[in-house]
Every structure is written in structure tokens, then in C-alpha cells.
Symmetry: C3
């Protein structure tokens, strides 16, 4: 058995989805990963991970509109407003999506479907430096 | 260490939950899997995976009613309507649930709770052919 | 390769978030786990797992208020009321969060971010005995 660990630093431009499928695929290729399991882990509570449609950019805009309506910034329901009106909504959005994804890898290739892309979903309005851990285990 | 990889093809009858607990358990048994980790991965962005109550069918009907109210088909919020009024809602439902599940396996048996079943949640109205990857790693 | 399996029994005091980061970290230390992958699996359909902000208790109160508004107890939408008005909402909340989390471990330490804590989210109003499986695989 072999293991690989990698720290991916993703600067975001503020709220929205940031694709990193290629960064993950390139890393697996560079390291000569074979068949195994890739786990992607976000170290944040105000940004999350999503597998989403990678073709029509309208999907990302619609997703964002949906979350903005479901968890409105500045909602008077929230008392945790230390970092502004998007602070608590960012935690709720993270709870409703994922902090971690695991993807089977066959002969070095993630077994993603044709329309699946990997995204970091930034939930804060301001740009952030995000840190995602990639772990691969296999043969 | 040993690894197993399997492609499960699940035809759906349209929107709703499709149980596949037995298919996963049978595969582990057939392959003589021991103790390890099973990862289930859906290759779609308009269908997802869920662990849910496996006893009372009302639970599935109630879940579907909840999601239909939360993410209504034909919502004017959505611009991505290429494949109809259930296209974008299917992506949102997938984002709110899971594309992947990992389950510890002990001596060939998934450590599911008594009331837990594995489901593919089809979010499109029309029947589809769905493709789920099963990956097991262990000893 | 080495594997470890542990059954964690968590008594809850009813609805709300119950931290177990220390219990998981202590177990890894006790067993001398090295670098690998930790998978945490909840065996329930009315309680779930969450990685959330571990600093300000207001975050947990706000999260609970959000879910109570999104999935109200006693909602006439629901027919599955066998165990009371919080029965079906507990299943929906579980579907919207996670039954499983996997976390990369480096030299015995989970690679959690500074503000990330592990929580069992109890969705039933009454106290329960919950059962979470910890599985570690690595070297």
C-alpha cells in the first residue's frame, strides 16, 4: 500500500464556486497514483466542497441564487454576526453541503462522471485563502 | 491490503428513492471482502446517495414532499432550464444531499444501523440509467 | 497497512450538537495511529455528523434555529409521525447533513482546521444513546 498527502492552497475571489478538478487530477498524475481512494478535505467552516455540473455556468449562478434565498445574509434569526452579515450564513451553507469528498481512483484517474466537476464553494463575500487536503491511498 | 472495484448500474423509475443495500451487501459477500472501508460514489449531478430509514415507506414519501417544497420544479429563480423544469432542482437537491458515502465493513458486513438503508435518490422525473461505483479497501 | 475499528457510544441530552473531537483524537493517540484515513460513521437516521465552528456557542444555537425554521416539528406536510412531531423532521435534518465523515490523519493527528470541531447532531428532542463507528486505515 502507498499513501500520498498534499496541501492545496486555493485563493478565492469571494463567494462562489471555484473549480479545482484539474489541480486534483494533475497531482494524482504527477505522483503516479494507481488504483485507490482519493479523499478531499476542506479545513474550513465557512467554505465547503461540492461535486457539481461542470458545463453550463448558469448552474453555478442558480445554485448561488438558491442558497442566497435559503440562507439570507443578515437574517435577524442569527446572533453570531462577529464577522458581518455573511458570517453565520457561511456556517449554515457549509453544514448543508460537504466538508469532505472521497472519490474512487482507477489507474490514476478519478472515476468522476462526464458532467461532474470538483468545486470549492466559498461562502464568504470577501476573497479568502483556502486550504484543502488531498489524501490518496492505494496501490 | 486488497482492493475491489465494482460498477453498479441502477435503472430508476423516475424521481424517488431506489434501495440498493442488498446489491452492495451481495457484492461484498460474493467477493469475500473482509474488514475495511466501502466507498459508494454516484457519477451524477442530478441523482444522489442517501442513507435513510428503511422500514416505513412514508418516510420516503415525506422526504420527497419536503424536497419538492424546498426546491420547487419550475421555480422562476432558475435560468438553467435546458432539460426542463426539474433540471436545476435536480442539481440543487444533489448539492443538499451526497454524491458519496463511506461505510466501515467488519468481516464482510457493512456496519449499518438496524434502520439504515442505502438509497439512490433520483431527482429527475423521467426514468434514468444511473451508474454508481463501489470501492472496497481492506484485508 | 494497519486498520483500527472502534465503537463510540455517545449519550445525548436531546436535540443539539454534542462535541466528540477529543474522544476521536484520544482514541487515535491511544492506538498509536500513524498517517492514514479516519472515517466516522453514524448508525442512525435521526442524528447526524457535522464539522462545525468550535469556538462561539452562538453558532450552534443559530444552526439549531435555522434547522428548526427550515424543518419545523409538527409540520402538517409529514405523515410519518409514529414517534411524535420531531420524528420526520429528524430524518429530514439527517438527510440534509451527513451520516459519515472522513478525515486525513498525519502522524496520528486529524488534519482539522483550527476552528473545526466534530459534532454529533442529535435531532430528536429526547435524550438518546447514539452509536458512532470510528475506522482508521493507514501506516
Amino acid at each position: 500500500m502507498r499513501q500520498l498527502l498534499h496541501h492545496l492552497h486555493l485563493p478565492t475571489r469571494g463567494r462562489g464556486m471555484h473549480a479545482f478538478t484539474d489541480a486534483a487530477a494533475d497531482w494524482l498524475r504527477r505522483e503516479g497514483a494507481g488504483t485507490g481512494l482519493l479523499t478531499i478535505f476542506s479545513r474550513h467552516t465557512s467554505a465547503s466542497l461540492l461535486i457539481q455540473e461542470n458545463y453550463d455556468p448558469d448552474v453555478q449562478a442558480d445554485l448561488e441564487r438558491f442558497f442566497a434565498r435559503l440562507v439570507p445574509d443578515g437574517d435577524p434569526l442569527f446572533e453570531h454576526v462577529l464577522e458581518g452579515p455573511d458570517d453565520m450564513p457561511a456556517h449554515v451553507r457549509t453544514a448543508l453541503t460537504q466538508a469532505q469528498l472521497s472519490i474512487p481512483v482507477e489507474q490514476g484517474r478519478m472515476l468522476l462522471g462526464t458532467w461532474q466537476g470538483l468545486y470549492l464553494y466559498e461562502h464568504r463575500r470577501a476573497p479568502q485563502q483556502r486550504h484543502v487536503v488531498l489524501h490518496w491511498m492505494g496501490e
